[in-house]
Symmetry: C2
Subunit: 203 residues, 2 copies
Amino acid sequence: MRTIITIGREFGSGGREFGRRLAEELGIEYYDKEIITEIAKHTDLSEEYVQSIVESKPHQLYPITIGQSFTYLDNYYVGQMQSVYLAQEEILKKLVEKSDCVIVGRCADYILKEYHPYRIFIYADMESRINRCIERSTSKEAFTRKEIEKHIRKIDKGRAKYYEYYTGKVWQHKENYDLCINTTNTNIKEIVPLISKLFKKNI
Amino acid sequence: MRTIITIGREFGSGGREFGRRLAEELGIEYYDKEIITEIAKHTDLSEEYVQSIVESKPHQLYPITIGQSFTYLDNYYVGQMQSVYLAQEEILKKLVEKSDCVIVGRCADYILKEYHPYRIFIYADMESRINRCIERSTSKEAFTRKEIEKHIRKIDKGRAKYYEYYTGKVWQHKENYDLCINTTNTNIKEIVPLISKLFKKNI
């Protein structure tokens, strides 16, 4: 049976690193930003624009419009979002039919439900997430913890809205996942070999 | 380092079976109802009464009182609850100091926090929980699915209230646990050997 693992993750929880290391450990494909690139190719939209759509609260994408132009532009942007979502759906299904894989984000747990993926959600407390962001920052600008927290909450709000918009479910609810892993005070590098045992045959 | 695993579980999710099998698989102690027996011994209350306290919404334990007798009885029952909780705390700490173990329920994740237990929460969707209750029923009386669901919700409400009363936290929130496992459509017997690998050294 095919191994398809989807990873939902709170911003700063180390979910992306977890997914990448898990795929490496299992020797299977890993998909994350590659999907954005593929969607951009399919839709003729820029990668940045696709990224902004898949990470944002859908209605925030609507432009400021006045008078009669509203309906037209409204439909136009909703149409673009639908194109992105449909392209994403098509790409994800092609990928999982090709080989075993780990997929981060992209509502993959919902889109691929007929393939019965193993759905993991990675989360952590705010302090730990802020610390992880600080450790990994490559920016020269120093942000305060308060600014980082604000950024984390904004990104998560976008992810939650996007997930809810397409799936009708609450993104952070454990009921949508098979396994929820708390990475507070946890070294991702150390836990991945342990968790990978769940997917290795003959151990 | 000592292995202390606490299991929180929704009623009907198979959490108790999970805990028992996990302890067996790891060859460590398992504590569940034994704790009630110990509390009863420590407090001179009956096992049934202790059970009703630890599984109930605290304020439901108050008797119907009239007039001036209220304060006296009120204090009396609150006192009993406190005795039970203190006995529970003392017993749990003694147990974990003795040996590695799995403890089901009893706010053990919170009471033992200074011992850094690995905190697991077992949950499942309502349909799956009702099915599990039907499969395991030893009662001759046939209950409808609706009646079973009502019973499940009542028990969980009691557990949630008790947990919140003593810990100040929301029982079903994944933030209180290290690992949350969804047992919907899952055979507990099959997943325990997999999860136990997380705790086995030298694999």
